[in-house]
Symmetry: C2
Subunit: 677 residues, 2 copies
């Protein structure tokens, strides 16, 4: 089926240059007005990139303000998020309902949709949260990949759009940019176009002061189509975007611009970057632009031009709606689940079957292996699940039977990301926004490599799932560099992030169920490299891990001791309990797969789980920080207070004193200290 796609209405040579200048100046004027009003903001980029934006919106971008969520719209990612006013001004002029003039007037004030940096969910047209440099560019890999996946999985008749990125020199300096560039080049993401605001100014001064890289050569080295243009020449801009659209590779358009364009003394200077220009400079800029209107005032001609630009996509969207109506239901079902972020039936049954399997086999296996078994079943039910690993597939075990995608064939469900944890997670954010269920994997210690992107998952409320294996000193010989110690605490500190550390096969199955059900926050699955025993036998009960913490072994009689633990150390707590019980010390054990879920339980449940035993001991092969909230100041903690070491896992547990004996000893001593026995 031939598919319509917006083509430029008029050849570049016959663009209405006066109208485009007016459109661009409207962006500039609103930018200056909003920033002056807020007494805060970054005018430099919007003033510089206004011409590019005017051409993009009026000639190329496929969108319809009447439905900002239209699935087949082109995506525009403002990676240079500090230039947020460029986007807000455009959205306002285009008539996006969420962005009335009042929002611009309230730019950077509390509760405004026009936040300091663009925030996903604040308004239609903001495709993703940006600001931390490099993130937008790398997230755009996810958007562009989602388009290719969508075209392959759901059909080119309903998924056929492009992704544009506006990026700054800062985006290109951040390391994550190289990971993104390499991935886009490798996968030949030809629907991706990066408009580089090549203004040669950073905060500290001229970019030349800190960068000698030939960016065009750099992108070319990774298989991109590249070109350089005058970013203030509408014809050149439009022709370049045409060229990008015709390329079979991703395209970099380096747009030579003047930061703070039109500002009489601050243009082309770092001063224009991140502070209001000030009344005098704004007046000069308005004069230079020939902009004779008052603050927040838009002349009719500019308004009409922007409204005309807004109307361009209407027909395309109508056509798409018609095409979509004709798509047979069986081909639409997964696509629609992606749109609504709903789940198919049968997942709970698969989880139950997996739980039964663990009880039956009773095998000692690593939780990463248990995870693979569960994942294998669940992934068969979820074509919208896109898994991947940062070159550790054979260790993280999250491929199962999935077929890998290649630059030539996007019909698979697994991405070999290469050793690019950071771009992997940023791209997962893009995939998640597009409705896929992205699963990414590496060792837990290397979660540090992707924290900035994970933070955006949590901030945006995206259901990314992170398979983090080798979750403690239990990984053994690879040593301290690979052994997470502080990572569990550091991850548990992050708002809106679920951290799950299952203790056995059953808890692992439950953890997967929880992860999949949480489409509005990311989940970390912390899994062992080393085998652990199957602790629970109650396959049939509801998801106990979903309570965050629960009593996995009761005391015989009134508990004198409560032991708390997670993951591979729950077995130590249970062994310590056996020992203490054998000495007549009534001891209960609480498994704590998730601090966050526990914190969400009713106060009465939390109190019951904390219990009334006078003695509390926690054991986890990690730092204490997270556990204070359960065991209190006078509780004992058996765990790590240093980095790990290289050696066999069993030896390391002995070396660092993380043993059942140490747990029992601590309980006995605390009993004595507190005068209980």
């Amino acid at each position: 089926m031939p598919v319509s796609s917006l083509s430029r209405a008029i050849p570049a040579a016959s663009l209405d240059l006066a109208e485009l200048k007016l459109m661009a100046n409207a962006l500039r004027a609103l930018t200056m007005d909003a920033i002056e009003q807020a007494k805060s903001g970054h005018p430099g980029m919007p003033l510089g990139m206004a011409d590019v934006a005017a051409v993009l919106f009026s000639q190329h971008l496929k969108f319809d303000p009447a439905d900002p969520a239209w699935p087949d719209r082109d995506r525009l990612i403002l990676s240079a998020g500090h230039g947020s006013m460029l986007l807000y001004a455009a959205l306002h002029l285009l008539g996006y309902e969420d962005m009335p003039l009042d929002e611009l007037k309230r730019f950077r004030t509390t509760h405004s949709r026009a936040a300091g940096h663009p925030e996903y969910g604040h308004a239609g047209g903001i495709e993703t949260t940006t600001g931390p440099l490099g993130q937008g560019l790398a997230t755009a890999i996810g958007f562009a990949l989602a388009e290719r996946l969508g075209a392959a999985h759901f059909g080119k008749d309903i998924v056929d759009h492009r992704t544009y990125v506006i990026a700054s020199d800062g985006d290109l300096m951040e390391g994550i940019s190289q990971e993104a560039i390499a991935l886009a080049g490798h996968f030949k993401l030809s629907r991706l176009t990066v408009l580089f605001d090549d203004n040669n100014i950073c905060i500290d001064g001229s970019v030349d002061m800190v960068e000698s890289t030939d960016q065009l050569a750099r992108f070319r080295a990774s298989g991109w189509h590249v070109l350089r243009i005058d970013g203030h020449d509408p014809e050149a801009i439009s022709a370049a975007i045409d060229e990008a659209r015709a390329s079979d590779r991703p395209t970099l358009i380096a747009c030579r611009t003047v930061i703070g364009f039109s500002a009489p003394t601050k243009a082309n200077k770092p001063d224009a970057h991140s502070s209001p220009l000030g009344t005098k400079e704004v007046a000069g800029a308005r004069a230079n632009l020939g902009w004779n209107w008052g603050p927040f005032e838009i002349p009719d001609a500019a308004d009409a031009a922007w409204k005309a630009a807004a109307a361009r996509g209407k027909q395309d969207r109508q056509d798409w709606i018609k095409r979509f109506a004709q798509v047979p239901a069986d081909r639409k079902v997964v696509f629609e689940r992606c749109l609504t972020k709903s789940l198919p039936a049968g997942l709970s049954e698969a989880v139950l079957a997996a739980k039964r399997g663990f009880v039956e086999s009773a095998a000692q296996i690593p939780t990463r292996k248990a995870s693979e078994q569960v994942f294998d079943q669940l992934s068969r039910l979820l074509p919208e699940l896109i898994s991947g690993s940062a070159d550790l597939t054979s260790a993280t075990l999250n491929k199962a039977s999935l077929r890998a995608i290649t630059p030539e064939d996007f019909s698979g469900h697994f991405v070999h990301w290469g050793i690019r944890e950071h771009a992997m997670v940023a791209a997962m954010n893009g995939l998640a926004i597009e409705g896929f269920i992205p699963v990414g994997a590496t060792f837990l210690a290397f979660s540090d490599y992707f924290r900035p992107a994970l933070r955006l998952s949590a901030l945006m409320g995206l259901g990314t799932i992170h398979v983090m294996t080798h979750d403690s000193i239990g990984l053994g010989e690879d040593g301290s560099t690979h052994q997470p110690v502080e990572h569990l605490a550091a991850l548990r500190a992050m708002p809106n992030l679920l951290v799950l550390r299952p203790a056995d096969g059953i808890e692992t199955a439950e953890a997967w169920e929880i992860a999949l059900q949480n489409r509005k926050r990311p989940t970390i699955l912390a899994l062992t490299r080393q085998p652990v025993p199957q602790l629970r036998q109650d396959a049939e009960t509801q998801n106990r891990s979903a309570l965050g913490a629960y009593e996995i072994a009761a005391a015989n009689g009134e508990a004198q001791v409560s032991l708390f633990s997670s993951g591979s150390e729950v077995q130590l707590a249970l062994a310590a309990r056996d020992q203490l019980e054998s000495e007549g010390i009534a001891t209960r054990v609480v498994s704590v797969p998730s601090f966050e879920l526990f914190a969400e339980q009713p106060a009465s449940y939390r109190a019951a789980i904390l219990g009334t035993a006078p003695v509390r001991v926690a054991v986890e092969a990690a730092v204490r920080q997270s556990w204070d909230g359960l065991i209190g100041i006078d509780g004992d903690f058996i765990g790590m207070n240093s980095f790990g070491a290289s050696g066999p896992a069993e030896e390391l547990y002995e070396l660092f004193g993380i043993t059942a004996k140490a747990v029992a000893d601590a309980a006995r001593q605390q009993l004595k200290r507190k005068g209980v026995s």
Copy 2:
């Protein structure tokens, strides 16, 4: 003064190829033996890069095993740290005292110097800890920069050496590599040579599967000299290193190698990468190499060749010692302080003067501004201090009067790192190892971008200092992406890292004193963007912040309430105390600039500071996690439990309920709940 530097003894064309092969095979045999013995390890890289290593050690590298710490030795960084056996085997064969055969036999066992990945401090010849990919390459920027700084600051007669890096495809995929490559190219670090193990195999399969970047073109784009050779051809290797030494730019030598070279079925396959080859495969490899000796057995000819290589640098070191003896004392003083990591006199006086200044001026200033004032004084006393900022110099305020270095002039003391937080901190690790005092800066929220490198600072015990400004929602309008919330807790979770969050000018001065005195662990200085009042008047007292926590305001009478706080929120705790005291509720306030230092105090002091007041409330504009250990399960916490928002700082404090009133309310309610009043 003409300076000797090792030149190759013989032209490449007349190398003793048989001897070099024997030397390389000795590395291969020891690698296989140690890994088989450990039943764990990564044979692929050492087998592949043995020829390169044999040529480098025997023909080019300047070193003397008699003094592994000889300051003017060449540095070899094994960025591909998983190939640790390559380095251990070489060090052993060269006669490094720390690496007897027994250590190789105990490879990857507990307490062995031969850890899974090379760990700084375990043995001479291990220049830095590597393993997390990309770190070695980026740390090498610090080493190469230190050499240039040393030559400029101390004299080319005593600092004149080179830095070599062995890097893998994984190192080059990690984003941090681009930051490092760009910096090396920009600063024209011609003394840096990267030997890229270009074997086209990663764990998941062929590198082609995940990477289409032309690495030579990529490095060339950043100003590197590049060449590609057969990594098994000693003449080509030696000639390439000669070419690198002659270049005025950093050099990439892509060495085409066969991973697992000589292994009959596993060579050139991912199987060779990270698992023992197994008895049969090892036997085949030995046969292929013509290696007829037993495990851990080295034939005399190989031993002699390695010992001859080891002897090459002896004369050079003797000459250096003579030259060094002739250097006048005034030119050596800072150099020697770098070697011993000692500090000059006068720092405490400068800190005291700064403290007095804050009391006298009584001005409300941000702690970042207070930091600048202290830093300005201290940096004048410390020529070994190398400061820098990730393109936020005007915000992080850690340049003061320092002059920036440029590619042409390394006599300055400030580095404009560009927006490259990750490589900045990795390079700071290199600078710190070389004895400089590196100070690096960005916003606290962006500490996430450099956590993997910071972790290595902490693991290696390096005194890097991190000026982290904009440390809470108090930064205001830039919004949630820029506002740290979980970062303080996440950083406090890291072993061997000092986190200091000063409350006013005096605490800021004290924090700088602490940071400089801690040359064996990194320090985070969390500083405000917004002004805070000068709380303390006791400029003359000892460094109270060094206690970690101390009573900044006593209760009138027996305390009913203890309030705990840090940084910009201490003023809120003090205001709440005033209110509570006015109501007759005896209230004390504890300022907690550092959890780590507090934890190191004697139990009696800690108990006294926790106090006996039945009510405990903490306030910090961040998550609660860190504070449970001070206020207990039943204490109240006023802070953040979500991400921040965009708006003026004062409004945000109200919005998130972080106010003196909220603190006082919580205290009153807790008093009631506990039935105290």
